[in-house]
Structure formats: C-alpha cells, structure tokens
C-alpha cells in the first residue's frame, strides 16, 4: 500500500474560546487517487472537518491537531505557505454554485484568477488554459461561455464552472462540500461522473462531504461516518454497507429508500443530533440508539478495528453486526 497523501490526526475544531467542539479528535488518511466520503446528518461536523483541513473557518474558530500534507503540517503553516496550498495543491468546491461564484465577474476572469495565483502562465497562457478547462469539465461552446457571467449559467453548468476554477492549477486533492446537494437528480449524476472522471484523468484524491448515502455508494472508495463531531465508523464503502458495525450507521442505512426492493418499512432514526453544547455522556448517540445498553450511557466507546481496514466506535458492534445490513444487495451494486 502506498503512503497516504493526507494524514489527519486528532483534528479538533472549537468555536467561541473552546466552549463548543464542532469536531473532536478526528483522524483519517486519504490515499492517492482515493475518494473518501464523509457522511453524517446536518450538524455532525462533516463540513467543519472539511473546512478545517484548509483552516477555512469563520471568525472565532480554532483548529488543533495535525493535518499532514506531503510531510508539512497545514495547521502550522504561515499565511503565504497556506495560500500556496489552498487552491494550488488542495482545492475546494462548494455546495451552492450560485453563491460560490462571484456574481459580477465573468467565468473567464474567475478561472484566470486561480491561474494568476498559482501558476506562472502569462495572459495568453491563462486564456488558453481557461479554454482547456472549460472543455475538460464539459461546458460546450467554451469560447463564448467564458465571457458570460454566472447568472447566465444553469445550476449544473455553474457547478462545472466551479470545478473548472478549482482544478485550474492541477490540485492533487479536491475537497467537495456537498457539491451535488443543490442540483437536480439527473444533473447530480452528471456532476458525480465528472468528478470521478477528473479524479482518474488528473490522478487526484477527493474528499467528499455528503449526507446522501446513494452518492457515497456511487462514488466513494472509503467512507467515514460522523456523529456529533466524531468519526464513529470508517471503512471501505462495500464493507460498511454490507456489515455496519455502529448503531448509527445501521440506522442511516436503514433510512434510505430503496427502489426495486419490495415495499418495506422505511426506518428513521428518532430524535435529532445533540447540540454542540449538550453532547450526552458516554456514546453521543445513546439517547437515539436502539441497541443502547448501560455502558453506552457511561463510557464513550473508542474507535476500534473490527475487521481489517474497518473501524467502529460502538460498544455493541457485535449486536449491530448480527442485526445485518438494512441495505439490499441491489442497492450496493449500483
């Protein structure tokens, strides 16, 4: 196995003078060419985790731990080094392509801004590269569309343009923050395919934040499930879907409607995720958990290896595994 390109250890993000922990002690690796999915409900800390990797936090946010990128700790970098990494080596795309694009600048300018910041291309080189990128992300009639403004693009085209900007300087890691959530289902599929194609073509890795398990099964190699700021289960997508070891993952998988299967009860997880200020003692999931026992209310389970490459933090992993996967094979296969 090759070396991971990104090694995250003990990532902890706090807000308001350390009073609120949005992310607690999160560790994971990203391998070259791999697509890692970060999954969880709203408020589970997945987006904050992603932003913490590049220290892109709103005022008052503090990140601790280490984010090791090619032997350098992103969290310890000075401003200039950090700017070099952001957008150049590690790039990011956002959920809402309408607001993530600058409304008053033509797409060409926005692509060239990235090139200006991270490459030594001259004006002509930047022009040519912008053209090339538009073709790369599948925007037809590139020459004309380059001079258009974001509001002249449809939702899917905007996300493609966003991807073109993010990939302008050949990053080796793409951070995608729910890039398809705001799009139509058919467009979602196109964008996901595009990201996977580009992953192969540009030999980059992708960290994909989503709450959509369908997206995970369609695109990711490995997945990490987050709950209340911690990773509760992590492993290859096929393993996790086939045999979830954490009660929360089990519940998540059970709540996905499945086409093609005979009608069955759609399971939901009762209650809502806890607020950051009121995370319950023991396992954070215990008040909502069907498998909860006494120990779950007292001590927090540690992330432990269940089978090779498959970790979970659940006292009752055995019982959860015995309950079997709520996902039918049909869905896993595609």
């Amino acid at each position: 196995m090759s070396e991971p390109i990104l090694r995250v250890r003990g990532l902890t993000t706090t807000f308001g003078d350390g009073a609120l922990h949005a992310v607690r002690d999160v560790s994971f690796d990203v391998m070259p060419g791999e697509v890692l999915g970060l999954v969880g409900e709203s408020g589970s800390g997945k987006s904050v985790t992603l932003r913490s990797l590049l220290r892109l936090l709103p005022a008052g946010g503090r990140v601790a731990g280490s984010v090791c990128w090619h032997g350098r700790d992103v969290l310890a970098m000075n401003e200039a080094e950090l700017r070099g990494v952001r957008g150049g080596e590690i790039s990011m795309i956002f959920q809402e392509p309408m607001t993530a694009l600058n409304p008053v600048l033509p797409i060409r300018v926005q692509i060239e801004e990235n090139l200006r910041a991270h490459t030594k291309l001259d004006g002509r080189g930047r022009r040519a590269r912008a053209r090339e990128l538009m073709d790369l992300v599948g925007i037809p009639d590139a020459a004309r569309r380059l001079d258009e403004f974001p509001h002249q693009f449809s939702g899917g085209m905007r996300q493609r343009a966003m991807i073109a900007i993010a990939l302008a300087s050949d990053p080796k890691l793409l951070l995608a923050d729910e890039p398809t959530t705001a799009l139509d289902v058919t467009i979602q599929d196109q964008i996901l395919k595009l990201i996977l194609e580009l992953r192969d073509e540009l030999a980059m890795s992708v960290v994909f934040v989503t709450h959509d398990l369908g997206v995970v099964s369609a695109t990711c190699d490995r997945m990490a499930v987050m709950y209340a700021g911690r990773i509760v289960e992590e492993g290859a997508v096929a393993d996790v879907f086939a045999c979830p070891r954490h009660a929360y993952t089990h519940g998540l998988l059970g709540s996905v409607p499945q086409a093609g299967a005979e009608r069955s009860m759609l399971l939901s997880i009762e209650g809502t995720p806890p607020g950051l200020a009121r995370i319950p003692e023991g396992c954070a999931f215990n008040p909502r958990c069907d498998f909860a026992t006494d120990i779950c209310r007292r001590t927090r389970p540690r992330l432990a290896e269940m089978s090779p490459g498959h970790h979970a933090a659940c006292h009752n992993a055995g019982a959860v595994a015995a309950a079997g996967s709520p996902v039918r094979r049909a869905m896993r296969d595609g």
């Binding site: 956002f94 801004e113 951070l175």
Partner: protein, 250 residues
Amino acid sequence: MIVAAFPQFFAPYDPLAMDYVNLLAPPSAAHPFGTDNFGRDVLSRVLHAYTIDMQIALFATLFPFLFGTTVGAIVGYVGGATEAMFGRVVDAVITFPFLVLVIAIVSVLGPGLMNMYIAIGVVGWVFYARIVAAEVKVQKRLDYADAGRAMGYTHARIIFRHLLPNAITPAVVYWMTDMALAILLGSSLGYLGLGAQPPAAEWGVQIADGKNFMATAWWISVFPGIAIVITGLGFSLLGDGLAELLRGRR
C-alpha cells in the same frame, strides 16, 4: 449640456467683459438672460460657470470616492478593532454638520477652489468609507469570498478584485448624488465668498452677486439657480441610471 461644455464656442459674449451701457438690462434678444450690475452677459456667465462647477463636482468628490472606497473596503473586510476605531471616526465627523466642518476648514486654509477641494475631501471620504464598509461586511460572508480564500488568493486580491466590484454600486450611486451636492456646496461656499472668487463665473458667486438686485434684476440670480437645479437633477438621474445598470449585471 453639450452647449455648456464648450462655452467658448456658444457663449455670445466674454463672461468677464463689462458693458457699462447695458447695466442690469432685462432679458432681451441681445442678452437672453439679461446682464448683471457690471453689464456682463448672464447667459455667457452661466455657460462658463458650467465648466467651473463641473470641476467642482468632479474634484470635490473624486478623492473622497477613491480614498473612502479603499478605506471602507479594507475596514469592512478586516472588521474587529479596526472597524470599531473607524466607527468612532465616523461618529466624530457626522456629529458636526457637513457644511460647518467644511467652512471651518476653509476658513483656516483660506478661501479658494483648491482649499475648498481639500476641505471637502478631508470630510467627505468618511461617508463613502461607511457605505462601502457596510457593503463589504455583507459580501465577505458570502460563499464566493470563502471560495476566494479556499483558492488561496491574497487578502488584497479578495478585497479589491472580488469583493469590491460587488460592494461598490451604492458608493457609485452616492457619488453621483454627491456631485450634485458638491455643486450646491461649491455654490454655497461661492455665495459665502469661500469658494470660487469673483470675478470668476460660478453659479454660487453669481447668485451672491445678484442678491442685492433681487427686486429689480431677478435674472442675475435666477438663471444660475436654474442651472444648478438642472445639473443637480441630471446627476441624480445619472446615478439612478447607473444603479439600474449595475444591478442589471447581477
């Protein structure tokens, strides 16, 4: 306006030429706007004053616009203590009526157009800065500002290339209104003898010249007054038009 932009071609008389035969002549075919107490043609003076008043409109507002916008963008982006400090400066300035401050500064520096520009500049930039700072504060929270940071752009680049074009519209509109106000202010100061100095043709000066003859020769003051109103209205409409145009681009 075109006629007024090139007074030397259109104005029937030299604005400074005195004609002692035709003192305080009412409007007639030879002098459509009449003549003033020195026998100068009012029409010619109104047209010539246009150039000076346009200069006032431009120079009195250009520095405040540029400087205020720059400061405002930085203050809005940085926020925190800088913003708090800036807030106190704004408070200090807006506590005093604008005209009083300007008059105070001009009286210290001495009357004249240049000193008037300086006085208006020293006070006026604050208003632009306040407008732009407020707008940048809103813009910097939007996703595209985050995206700019995620792409590794420098702060200066994000402020001036990405945020400012989105934040500048209200400042541009205010600028247009301010030009109209600057003309009024220039005229007021001219009227008070602190701006353009006689015998230069300037609308405010002209109105001041005419005030002693209001009862007998209303035309000396009324025509420059109408010119001020029309120009001010023109700038306001221009500002509205620009606002519409800039909004249309989004």
